[in-house]
Symmetry: C2
Subunit: 215 residues, 2 copies
DNA sequence: AGCGTGCAAATTGTATACATTTCTCAACCA
DNA sequence: TGGTTGAGAAATGTATACAATTTGCACGCT
């Protein structure tokens, strides 16, 4: 992506994911021009990409709107994630390299450190989520399917819009952490069935914790 | 999509899918301007959409190239299609409406007519493929997941680029036709397991016929 | 001959002017 | 009062001019 387009894409995307541009908001090009500091041309290019990310909608002569998902859509989103992340884990189990295994192991060790530290919950949560993303991305990569990787990247991004509001408890994080460790064992054993099963549980548990954020 | 963008999108897309723009071809904006009869602005907009469709690639300051997939990529493509179309069929079985069932039935009856006719094989193939697309699209729709629908639309489009070279025999078409009929029975019975299984067979058989086009 | 160097042409990136469409709102009529 | 209409404003769509980058090739150097 070229310079100005990238600026516009990142700034608008962050605005959407952070909630600064709420779902349903009409993104006027003139406003984005001053918000991003580039002209309309790269703005429009960036908007096209955001359409591809399913983060906004555009209709002829009516500009761009931040997409709003129906409440029951979370179910659909996680159903697909469960299916595809499970598939990715199964594929990965059969072909993951030692190098990639080590990367996941390292992330999990970092998680241990974060959880054992005396940082406040919000900081732990933020760092855990970052490492969580590393683990998942590694598995997608190890699955060997660039297509699967790009689809899952998009799905998770959409899930983020929902998740921002969710609260995380130590119990929830610990459960997720245990899933990761078990997943690592399954991958190291090259056991596709095991890897797929634990990954599916991992995603469903995440969905369940969204439904009842007080857990 | 606005007028000029749509013209550009459709023309370039058809050029790619028909093979007029071979994989690897460098699509220069100036050439596309005269090819499409619109200015560079809508051309660029259309190119952005084609990137989202995974039909072209763009790199900074290097323009657009028609994407070329490695030979062994067909396997990955069909693995995902099998997984997702199977899932779509299973979802559809549980919630399809009489109206949608009828639409599929109608398409299948039209297929009967086409196959019974005395048209040449190439014509039969073309009409069969069109009706095949109708059946699949109906099931995606009936699955109730817009996301699944859009992902599968893209995957099939990519498969088309491969399939253009494939040859179709009457036996192959007849087999596919039988799959459709069985699928309809499974859907009508509301049997998710059955629907998913036959759909998975249907996709794998299509893949197998690609691998050995002489079948 | 092989390999940099640098200029010119080609190509893409960005900004902006202009065209077209949609929206807003007030005036008007039934 | 309620609805319709139309002019002006605002927003998007398109074309084009200009800037920045890359590419191709000739030239000169070792």
């Amino acid at each position: 992506m070229s310079r100005a387009v990238e600026i516009a894409y990142v700034k608008v995307r962050e605005g959407i994911l952070s909630g600064a541009f709420a779902p349903g908001t009409h993104l006027k090009e003139a406003e984005l021009v001053e918000f991003c500091g580039v002209s309309r041309t790269p703005i429009r290019s960036a908007l096209n990409r955001l359409v591809a990310d399913d983060l906004i909608e555009m209709h002829r002569n009516q500009g761009a709107r931040v997409k709003e998902w129906p409440e029951d859509d979370v179910e659909d989103l996680f159903a697909l994630r469960t299916l595809l992340e499970g598939h990715a884990a199964a594929c990965a189990a059969g072909r993951i390299s030692l190098n990639e295994l080590e990367k996941i192991e390292l992330a999990i060790e970092e998680m241990d450190a974060v959880l054992a530290s005396r940082k406040p919950l919000t900081v732990k949560t933020r760092e855990f989520l970052r490492l969580n993303a590393v683990v998942h991305a590694s598995i997608w990569q190890a699955s060997g399917s660039a297509r699967l990787q790009s689809i899952l990247t998009k799905l998770v991004e959409q899930a983020l819009q929902v998740r921002t509001a969710a609260t995380f408890t130590l119990e929830r994080i610990a459960e997720s952490h245990h899933h990761h460790k078990e997943l690592l064992r399954a991958l190291r054993a090259g056991d596709s069935v095991w890897a797929e099963a634990i990954m599916r549980s991992h995603i469903r548990a995440a969905q369940a914790s969204l439904a009842r954020p007080a857990d």
